[in-house]
Each structure stands twice: as C-alpha cells, then as structure tokens.
Amino acid sequence: MFLFRIALRNVLRQYGRTSLSMISIIVGVAIIIMGRGFVGGSRENIVRAQIDSVSGHVLAVPRDYPTSGARHPVDNLLELDEATRAWLDANTEAWTTRTVFAPRIVKGSDAIRGRAFGFDPERDESVFPRRDWRVTGEIPATAEDGVLISRGVGRVLDVEPGDHLFLQVRTSDGAINALDLPVSGVVATGNPMIDRIGLFVPQPLVEKLVVTRNRFSHLAIRLADRDDSPRFAKELETRFAGAASVKTWREETQDLIDLQQIRQTAMDLLALAIMAIAATGIANTVLMAAHERVREIGTLRAMGLDRRGVVGLFVLEGLVMGSVGGLLGALLGGGYNYKLSVDGIDLSSFVEAAGSGGIYDSIPMSSMLYTESSLALAAGAALVGLLVAVLSSVYPAVIAARLPPAEAMRAE
C-alpha cells in the first residue's frame, strides 16, 4: 500500500517524463482499437456489399459456372418449377433470379464490354436493397423502358438518360443479337464492382435479348438469419439435383475476407511497433527513476524492504503509467471508433477513384464504412497497453533491486 502510494506520487511528480511514455501507450492502444475497428468494419462492409449487391445469403448458379473473371456464359441456364417456387416462397425471406451476361455496349464509334445484370423488376429489390443507390432518370421495369446503366458506363460512353445505345449479345442458343435501346437512367450503387462497367436490364428485355425462355443464371436468396445459410444451401442443392452449384455468402466472400486478414495483420504490426516504442520509453523512464533514487532505494532496503519489494515499487510505477495510458487510449480510441461505428466513414470519393480501375473493381463494397466497435475490443487493447507497461518496467526494476543496501550510507 505504501509502495503504491510512493509509485503513484513519483509518477505524478515526474509528470513531463512519464507523460511522454504514457502518450506512446495511449497512441498504441488507440491504434489497436481503431485498426481493428476499421478492418473489422471493412470486412463487414465487404460482406454486406457482396450480400446486398451480388450474392444474397445463398446463391445458386449453373454447375460449372466460372467462379471468377468476366466470363458470364448464358448457354447453360437454370430454371425453377412451380414446386420449387412455392418451396422458396415458404422457406426464404425473399428470393429473386438474375441473368448475368456480358454485352458489347456500343455508342457511335465507341464500344465497351459491360456486365449486365438481368433483374426481375418485382423481386430484385427484396433481395438486393437499393438504399445506397443514387439514380438519375428511372429504373426500368419493362422491355420498352430500356436499360439502367452504371455511372462508369455513362461516363465512358458519354451517355445520359434519354440517349440510346446498342447492346450486342450472344443469345442462349449461341446466335448473335443486337438491339437499339433507350437509357432509362444512370445509377451509382456505391459498389465499385458494379459502378464501372455494370448495367441493369429488366427481365422482359433480357428475354428478348438473350432469349432466356424463363431461365436464369443466378438464383439469389435472402434468409431471416444469415447464419442459416449453410443448412439452406445444402437443401437447395439437393432440390436442383446436381444442375446447380450453391454457395453461401461466406463461401462467396472467403477470398475477400482472407485479404482483410492481411490488412489486419499489417495494422497489428503497426500497433506492435508503437507498443515497442512505448515499452522502450517506459523501461527508460523506470530506469531513470531508479538511477535518480539510488539513495531512496538504499534507505528503503535499510529499513527492511526486501528485493521483491523494490521490484514491486518500480513495477508499480510501470503499472500506474500503463493503467493511465491504457485507460486514456481506450477512451480516446474507443470513443472515436464508436463514433465512426455509428456515423460511418464516407468512402464515396475513394470508391469513385477506385472505380477507375485496379483491384477494387472486383471487390464489392459500400461507400459508407461503419467501423466495428465493442467494449471487449477497447478493454482488450487497454489490457495490452497495461501489460506492455508492466512487462517493460520489470527489467529496470530488477536492476534497481540488485543495488546493495549499503549504498544508502555511501551515496551522496
């Protein structure tokens, strides 16, 4: 108890020196929290964007459908019988079908290869929410309405709502088809994977373009609880009897999650480096304190404090610095992280930049990033800070304890 009093007062007395060490602990702890919050938030953001714009909770595609890349074959499509439709109605929160194909979009002398999402005008929104969409013009519903193009397509081809463009496709029979179509609207979905070369084509128009005959390439399902996905996916797969390959959102996003893991590690390494600086600072502070207080140590030893007590005295100083630093770091980092978890970070400018190419074209994400925030995260980070401070004061404390008590008499 006396040792704690001495330690506390010494830390307070050496305010300037100890606050330097504490600042590094504060920064380290805050970075752990913010880094983990950001990466965890990104992971959830990517998973959400994937679910909300591409995969739903469970996604069925034709067997042997390419798992990556820009190839979207339409020669082997799926279909649903009445019984399966009824079963889907009964067992899902919502479901919809899509046909993804890769048309050549032509405007005058310019042409690009796009990625078209043929969607069911009635069902699509129930599985793929449009809350982040910003639309100029109209979302098409009939074959006459035409197509909804992404902002990227609009920019590259210089097209606005009301303009016309040509869509060249291969039909499901392998024939070549082309139609002159009006642009009903331009959309920014907030997901760079769609916003660069994507366009939305209403189902009746897909029928005319690709000749799908009520068939489709993607069946996407939303469940009440996304954790039910594996079980549901299995059942759906048996219903398709081998015709379809069924994946859960988790399987669909695994690669992206792995990528996030790498970011997480990078963040943790940064925090570790800062903690190493903090540890050096604390060790140095405690060592200086020990050097300055040789006579005090000797006096306490003469009065009967044993070596363990001396170690305790200086480790307590580390403990005081660590708890103050850890607590402040958790308050600052955790507080700010919490704010970002509620208000979100607006990534739209970043997403737009990413929309011009690079790997982000293949990563789904939403323009609002909400960080991951939890009490456990803040407490864990504070504990790491405390531990670093305590451990780094052990060595100088042991050095101090080795001092012979006779020094008390000698030191002047």
């Binding site: 108890m1 006396f2 001495i6 005090e296 000797g298 006096t299 003469a302 009065m303 008590p405 006779a406």
Partner: protein, 236 residues
C-alpha cells in the same frame, strides 16, 4: 546480554595489491542502553563498521550477531527482516522518502517492521515526541534539515528497535542544529533507554557520548566508557 557483537570482523575491499582493509579484525560488543560514538578520521572505517553492525553489509571474515542471532549465512530476505524489526537508521543526509509526508515516512517504518495496531497514531506520537507534532503533513522538502533529521530519528525509534545506527547524523547540519539533534538522541536514550551507536569526527558530539570507540586504519585504537549504559536493565 549484548545487543550486538562483532568477532574478528574484517572487511576487505578489492583484492591482491589493491586490497583495502577497511576493517581489520575488530571485536566489539554493544550493550542495551548504550550511547556510543565511533570516532576516527575520514577513511578510518566508521561507515564500514556501522554497515556491518546494521546488517547492511557482511564481513569478509569474522562474524556479526544481533540480539544473539548470528547474521552469517542469512539470505538477503532474512537480513531485511532482521533490519526491519531490530535496527533503526539515521543517515547523514536524512534520506526521507521525498514523496511521503513526515507521518507517512514514520508509518512506513512500522509497515515494514510488520507492527500491528494503529500505525498512523504511533507515527504521530513519535513525531510529537521529537517536537514535530505540528508538521505531520509536511513533505521533506517543506522541512528544514534539522526538522528532517528529527523525522529520521522518529522513524528510527518508532518501531522500538534493539539499536539505532546513525552514521554522522550531524555532519550535514550546522553546529547548533547538530547539537540539538544529538540532545534529542541523548534524551531518547535517557528517557526510553534506546540504544544508539553513531559515528562522528566532531569532538563536541563525542563529548555527549557514554562510550567512545576510536578507530584508526580499520582497527580499534581506543574504547572508553565514560558513563554506564542508560537504565542498566535493558533496552527500550
């Protein structure tokens, strides 16, 4: 029964040609109630002797015992325990813990000695006894040198040790204040039979001692008892 005994105690620093015999086969016994000055010029071995008696250091050869317990072979923990309970120290530069108040400094000694009871009250009484009843809450930096040394005396005596060791307790004080500290120590010796062994090379200080041991080059050059030990029947 002697409180403290040295037998052929030798302390050598360094080895070979560079060896310094700070103490050379010194045999001494101290009785309860003594008020003993160790005198001698600088470098004669006073501090070394007090370090051995105070169990802060161990002899190179020979033996030290305190209240009949041999210190030889004891580990640093056991020695710390013996010091905490049996030995009080007063240092030349006062050596109070700067971040603790006067009361806390005294209380700390009781804490380390493992004294039960109301330690705060005992500490305040000890400070009142050295004339500092009004300065309980002051930090060392807010006290004069003489006042700090009074706190140190209270701190040494509060646990009722077998012996108080004081290495040049007046050397950092002016002669008036030094004289007052020595008067205080002598008063505690007269009234409470507290045993003191202190070093000095000040003749004024030596004049107040009941016994004077003269050291020269690490050897006892004289041992004169001027007055019998206080109380005769035992220490405080």
């Amino acid at each position: 029964m002697s409180i403290c005994e040295l037998r052929d105690a030798t302390k050598t620093y360094g080895s070979g040609a560079a060896a310094v015999h700070a103490l050379d086969k010194v045999s001494l016994a101290f009785e309860p109630g003594e008020f003993t000055a160790i005198s001698g010029p600088s470098g004669s071995g006073k501090t070394t002797l007090l370090n051995l008696v105070g169990l802060l250091d161990v002899p190179t050869s020979g033996s030290v015992s305190i209240t009949e317990q041999a210190a030889a072979g004891l580990g640093s923990r056991a020695l710390a325990r013996l010091r905490a309970q049996n030995i009080g120290f007063v240092f030349q530069s006062f050596n109070l813990v700067p971040v603790l108040t006067a009361t806390e400094n005294v209380e700390m000694a009781l804490h380390l000695a493992g004294t039960a009871g109301d330690r705060r009250k005992l500490a305040e009484e000890a400070l009142a006894a050295v004339g500092l009843g009004e300065m309980l809450k002051r930090k060392p930096a807010e006290l004069s040198g003489g006042q700090q040394q009074r706190v140190a005396v209270a701190r040494a005596l509060v646990k009722k040790p077998a012996v108080v060791i004081a290495d040049e307790p007046t050397a950092n004080l002016d002669s008036t204040t030094g004289g007052q500290i020595l008067d205080l120590m002598r008063q505690m010796n007269d009234e409470r039979k507290a045993t003191f062994i202190f070093s000095t090379h000040d003749p004024m200080v030596m004049a107040r001692a009941r016994r004077v041991i003269a050291l020269h080059d690490g050897q006892v050059a004289g041992d004169e008892v001027r007055e019998p030990a206080a109380g005769g029947s035992g220490g405080a």
